[in-house]
């Protein structure tokens, strides 16, 4: 950390250690207020690769193995001892139940052993909280629409206050966008995780070559699912298109399929997100989640936000994918607002609603 960054943080800003285990990343991060001190991520992604998706039991076993090394590494990276930590934060949900329980068990025991207050927080709101850790020093500006897209979730939020007022506008009604990438990648014979491989083979492909469907964008869907997403139909459409080609003995134009599929995903995500900004009169959009790594999603977000006069905020990728620093950052906001710690009997809640920022 540079002196400038450190001095921009008030001396009394709370040092918070955050633990995140909702999916396949064991994350331990440490912040001082809005300053990032450590962000250690141990991923079991390689172990899931041969199954084409996250296997909950494999993820949970990996969390158990990774927890203590990740705690040690994060403190070393921050150059702190446990005594210098003011509070502990942990993801209570949403996520995979067995995976969440590892983090919850660890956080409770660590809090008791150190006498530190414990804050149980919402994973999705944590993705929004990551934006306070920007190293350009700018503050999180509110209200904002947040589009959170990963292998585990696809959610559109309206955030008027990070701690007090987070509203769910919509979410996927079937597959997460990241899962659609994984499934289409498998269809095209590409490895897991699908996102980066689809990105790779889409280079040089024509995004307009095939008009794949945009889920839940038809006028009839707008009443019930104005802000919801659906990627299951898109996945099926790609599968049908590819199979028909193969049945006809024709070669599958992988680059065009990948580019057109990716375009359909990016288009529907950003159409809905920017519609939400317009309809709610919110002048900014925040992106979060692993799909932010997708080049076309980022590019289209930049183009459309610029055209609509919307400010686009994208935290660095290491803070977009699941991580403990975002959980620590949200915990630090709760501490700064004088919130009481969570009761000691909270559990892992795989379907925790976004309106519950702190359990």
């Amino acid at each position: 950390m540079t002196e400038t960054t450190a001095s921009s943080t008030p001396a009394h800003a709370p040092v918070v250690l955050g633990i995140e285990t909702s999916c396949d990343e064991t994350g331990v991060g440490i912040v001082r207020g809005t300053e990032l001190l450590a962000n250690v991520i141990s991923s079991s992604m390689d172990e899931h690769a041969r199954y084409g998706g996250v296997v909950p039991e494999v993820a949970a076993r990996a969390h158990l193995d990774a927890m203590e090394p990740a705690l040690r590494a994060a403190l070393a990276e921050a150059g702190l001892t446990l005594d210098e930590v003011d509070a502990i934060a942990v993801t209570s949900g949403p996520g995979l139940a067995g995976a969440l329980m590892v983090g919850v068990g660890a956080a409770k025991a660590l809090a008791l052993a150190t006498g530190k207050p414990l804050y149980a927080v919402n994973h999705l709101v944590g993705h929004v909280g990551a934006d306070v850790l920007r190293d350009d020093g700018s503050d999180l500006e509110l209200p904002t629409v947040a589009l959170l897209v990963s292998g585990g979730h696809t959610s559109l939020l309206h955030v008027r206050d990070l701690v007090d007022d987070v509203q769910l506008l919509g979410e996927t009604i079937d597959d997460a966008a990241g899962e659609a990438f994984d499934k289409v990648a498998r269809l095209l014979g590409l490895p897991y995780p699908g996102g980066p491989h689809i990105d790779r083979v889409a280079v040089g492909g024509d995004p307009a070559a095939i008009r794949f469907p945009r889920g839940l964008t038809l006028p009839k869907d707008r009443a019930a699912h104005r802000w919801d997403f659906s990627f299951s139909g898109l996945k099926t459409a790609v599968a049908r298109w590819v199979e028909r080609r193969r049945d006809e003995g024709q070669e599958v134009p992988v680059a065009d399929v990948a580019a057109s599929f990716r375009e359909a995903v990016a288009d529907v995500l950003l159409t809905k997100a920017l519609d939400a900004c317009a309809e709610l009169g919110v002048p900014r959009l925040l992106l979060g989640g692993g799909v932010v790594a997708n080049a076309r999603v980022r590019q289209l977000a930049e183009e459309r936000c610029a055209a609509a006069g919307i400010e686009l905020r994208v935290p660095p990728l290491s803070l977009c994918t699941d991580n403990g620093a975002m959980i620590a950052a949200l915990g630090a906001q709760l501490v700064s607002r004088g919130r009481a710690p969570s009761p000691l009997d909270f559990g892992a809640d795989s379907t925790l609603p976004v309106t519950v920022v702190q359990v």
Binding site: Y51, E57, R61, P94, L96, V104, A106, A109, E171, G347
Partner: protein, 224 residues
Amino acid sequence: MILAIDTSAGTAVAVVDRDGGVLAERSVADTRRHAEVIGTLIEAVTTEAGVSPRDLSAVVAGVGPGPFTGLRVGIVAARAYAFGAGVPCLAVGSHDAVAFQRLSAAAGRSVADAGGRLDSPLVVVTDARRREVAWTAWAGLDDDGLPVAAGGPALVVPALLGEATGASSTWPRTDPDDTVVSAGALGMLAERLFEHGRPFADAAPLYLREPDVTPAARPKTVSQ
């Protein structure tokens, strides 16, 4: 003093002392609420025993066998508590604790009493879910009063238990519906192992079963 945690069945937590015996012990039988109750139980036993984390010489984790999701909660809690307290985390098999307690009782002693030899075989059988049980065979107690393993641990369907246990098939068995793991016994066993310079278990959980490899069925919605 040792903080002992076992979640191989319900959630069991105790503070024990080599000389003072079991100072405080709490358990919740519910096999699905480990993450919820682990914190309050640890807080309750440390308060009752009047120990601060720095008074402990170690934390001991029961490493199973047992249903995985719950088992991990206790192990990770033991490791994190030990890390936070700056003391070592030791591993003891959960069936070892059952054998230690039952065989000590058969010898007319509590787990807090100094031990001695007992030739009395026992097969510890616990529920492993999915219509299987986990078993470990014990020949008795050695001269230090510590359980002597004779077979297992392994998983088997109950109907094949006799066949699987081989030479120990005629030995008395515990009833899986009535076999609880006492954290007090786990902790006292750890104290005795330490006292007699015996090795502890491997830190890894006794899963005894490969993970199901079906990728996650994600929650369709996270709102309600």
